[in-house]
């Protein structure tokens, strides 16, 4: 009378019902009882064993990385490294902390998101709600896809090319001979927005596509035109999708290194440029947590692995936090049209 998978004979109606319920809960549960062991050829068994082995390998590596990083991070992190600025020194104990890189990460993320969010929403709205002429829409779609696949280092050096043009001097600073430096928070933030853009577009499009047709029609029936329907009906209902996409984009910005190394200059501390407060920071150079980890690894100039581990730990915490936010938002926004 046991509801064990495989025992097809002599099960009571009750047990069968229970099994049906379990199967309904787990969509593929139903197939589990059908496989008779004797119909499995050797190749099938090898395949099954490989699937189990790779699956468990993936699990163990995932947990290995997480636990190792957490262990190393907690070992080397302390309040001091969080609130002191980095200093150049050959002694690991005198290299200070990573306050400036943390501020740099926040500044760059805010700057990049401020550009990426409106632009991404605009692109997504145009693609889903207008999309005319159709050929142009296809091209824009392909463009967004190319942006996902384009190497960030190539985007970064193109960004440098733009920001080194003479007319871009207000965004960084010009040397004596008129040569524009091209590396600043402005430059890095602008290019970072392109790294985040596809994620904002993706999240917003998904949410807009999920809004049923009758919601739009109800709005038109009430006399609203398309523009105000978008503003008053569609965008508010796509809120959670927009937020998910934007947060994913922010995680990309936080984790991006190549753009920072090329476009933010490589100063350890935030080095303001010019005299206007606030604006001088954005015109100046600095570092972020990612470039700090890079510079302090044995591959960089600093070579302070303990600091690098601590900074990597903070970086991971930020990424985990952003991931949790994404999970929360998407869970909350799920049953909207249910």
């Amino acid at each position: 009378m046991s509801p064990m998978p495989g025992s097809s004979k002599g099960t009571s109606v009750k047990a069968r019902k229970r099994r049906a319920r379990q199967a309904a809960k787990k969509s593929q549960g139903g197939s589990r009882k059908v496989g008779k062991k004797n119909s499995w050829s050797l190749l099938d068994r090898v395949g099954l064993a490989t699937a189990w082995a790779t699956g468990l390998l993936l699990c163990s590596i995932a947990f290995g990385i997480t636990i190792y990083l957490a262990f190393k991070g907690i070992q080397y992190i302390n309040l001091d490294v969080l609130i002191t600025s980095p200093e150049a020194s050959t002694e690991q104990s005198e290299t200070g902390g990573f306050l400036d890189p943390m501020v740099g990460t926040v500044l760059l993320t805010v700057l990049g998101t401020l550009v990426a969010a409106p632009l991404g929403i605009a692109i997504a709205v145009w693609l889903t709600e207008y999309g005319r002429p159709a050929a142009l829409a296809r091209f824009v779609e392909a463009g967004v896809e190319i942006l996902v696949g384009a190497p960030s280092i190539a985007i970064a050096i193109f960004g440098l090319l733009i920001f080194q043009q003479g007319f871009m001097a207000p965004f960084s600073f010009a040397a004596e001979g008129g040569e524009v430096f091209g590396r600043s928070f402005f430059a890095a933030g602008a290019i970072m927005s392109l790294i985040a853009l596809p994620f904002v577009v993706g999240g917003t499009r998904e949410a807009l596509n999920a809004v049923p047709k009758h919601v739009r029609e109800a709005s038109y029936a009430l006399g609203k035109d398309q523009a105000s329907t978008i503003r008053r009906v569609l965008l508010p209902s796509a809120r959670s999708g927009i937020a998910t996409g934007t947060t994913l984009g922010m995680a990309q910005i936080v984790g991006e290194t190549a753009v920072v190394v090329v476009l933010l200059g490589a100063t350890l501390q935030i080095a303001p440029e010019g005299t206007v407060p606030v604006l001088d920071i954005f015109k100046g150079t600095g570092s972020t947590l990612t470039s700090y980890v890079y510079q302090n690894s044995p591959a960089g100039e600093g070579n302070a692995p303990e600091k690098a581990y601590a900074a990597a730990f903070v970086l991971m915490l930020i990424v985990v936090g952003l991931n949790l936010i994404v999970n929360l938002i998407s869970r909350k926004g799920q049953q909207q049209w249910g």
Binding site: G143, I153, I155, I157, F158, S297
Partner: protein, 336 residues
């Protein structure tokens, strides 16, 4: 999406000026992205053109030590007429092809099997646990993988896999210290694996249950049903995942610059297993390493030439992936 735009088209009033203005504004914003991409391709090409022009097709070929060539370009005389351009990128291209190719191949194999495990065989509790873990792994910044590589994997390779005999056998060309193709392939594989697994898992879950049940009803066992029905149906998603992973691998600069030794050396397949222990440097890692020299005119032009090659290969790659997906997706589900 089709349904939505059909609905709006039927109702919207073309002559409404506000609406027209909104549409125009959004369209211009959306098209600006095309302008950016076109600008990127064109400007990078023209900036790199002198390097291509000076070397012709031998730019892609082998010849000489690529690091010495880059050094000579960097130190070329100030007068534009005397710029040195001689550059043969083959070691870098070879390194990129080997490292990306190997890791994408391994990762495709591993990701298909792990996705099957997660969707079909893993206990429910493990499946629920793995979902967020994979999303998290996909979001781990590459510099963190690089840090783990340089502080954990490289010392391990250096201490356990390389012996003195190996070191002395190649000592006249290259020094073995653990930074190697092997380290690069290993870490790159696990960097792209979560992205691929996430994509394939999503589409495996979307395979209609009745399709599988049809196969089961015809007498196929569970594994056969999986391979003949589910796996065939998700082929477009596997291609999409592989294309995305290859793009990632081609563009990965930081991590590879940290773990592959950053030496412009083409590992020699004739060295047998030693091949994997030799250092090298990919195209994107070369740009990152040369980042400080970008303002030196001929050196910068060489770097932009490499950048153009990278952009071009990524664009061709996504086009090829789109074409393959189009062919496969007639009977498939998932990524379109």
């Amino acid at each position: 999406m089709e349904a939505a735009s059909l609905g709006t088209k039927a109702v919207s009033k073309e002559e409404d000026p506000t609406n027209r203005r909104v549409e125009l504004m959004l369209g211009v914003l959306a098209s600006s992205i095309l302008l950016f991409i076109a600008g990127m391709v064109i400007f990078t090409f023209f900036k790199g053109l002198p390097s291509f022009a000076a070397n012709g097709l031998s730019w892609f070929g082998a010849g000489g030590n690529v690091d010495e060539q880059l050094g000579a370009i960097f130190n070329s005389p100030a007068a534009p007429a005397d710029y040195v351009y001689e550059f043969h990128a083959w070691p870098l291209i070879w390194s990129t092809v080997v490292i990306s190719g190997l890791s994408v191949t391994i990762a495709t194999f591993l990701s298909v099997f792990s996705a099957i495990f997660i969707v079909e065989f893993a206990p429910v509790s493990l499946e629920k646990l793995l979902d967020p873990v994979i999303k998290f792994l996909a979001a781990v910044p590459s510099v963190v993988y690089g840090l783990l590589g340089i502080l954990v994997v490289i010392p391990f390779i250096n201490d356990n896999l390389i012996n003195e005999e190996m070191r002395s056998s190649v000592a006249y060309v290259i020094q073995l210290d653990g930074s190697s193709v092997l380290a690069g392939v290993l870490i790159l594989t696990f960097m792209i694996l979560p992205i691929m697994v996430a994509l394939i898992v999503d589409s495996l879950r979307a395979v209609p249950r009745v399709w599988k049940e049809g196969a089961l009803a015809l007498g196929a066992n569970r594994w056969r049903a999986l391979v003949t029905v589910s796996l065939r149906a998700v082929r477009p998603a596997i291609v999409a995942a592989a294309v995305l992973a290859t793009a990632r691998a081609l563009g990965e600069a930081i991590m590879l610059a940290m773990v592959t030794g950053s030496i412009g050396f083409a590992p020699n397949p004739l060295d047998g297993l030693l091949f994997f222990l030799e250092p090298s440097r990919t195209l994107s890692a070369t740009i990152l390493d040369g980042e400080e020299g970008l303002s030196v005119e001929p050196f910068g032009q060489t770097m932009y030439a490499i950048g153009f090659l990278l952009i071009l290969s990524c664009a061709l790659l996504s086009f090829a992936g789109w074409a393959v997906r189009n062919r496969l997706s007639r009977y498939g589900i998932g990524a379109k």
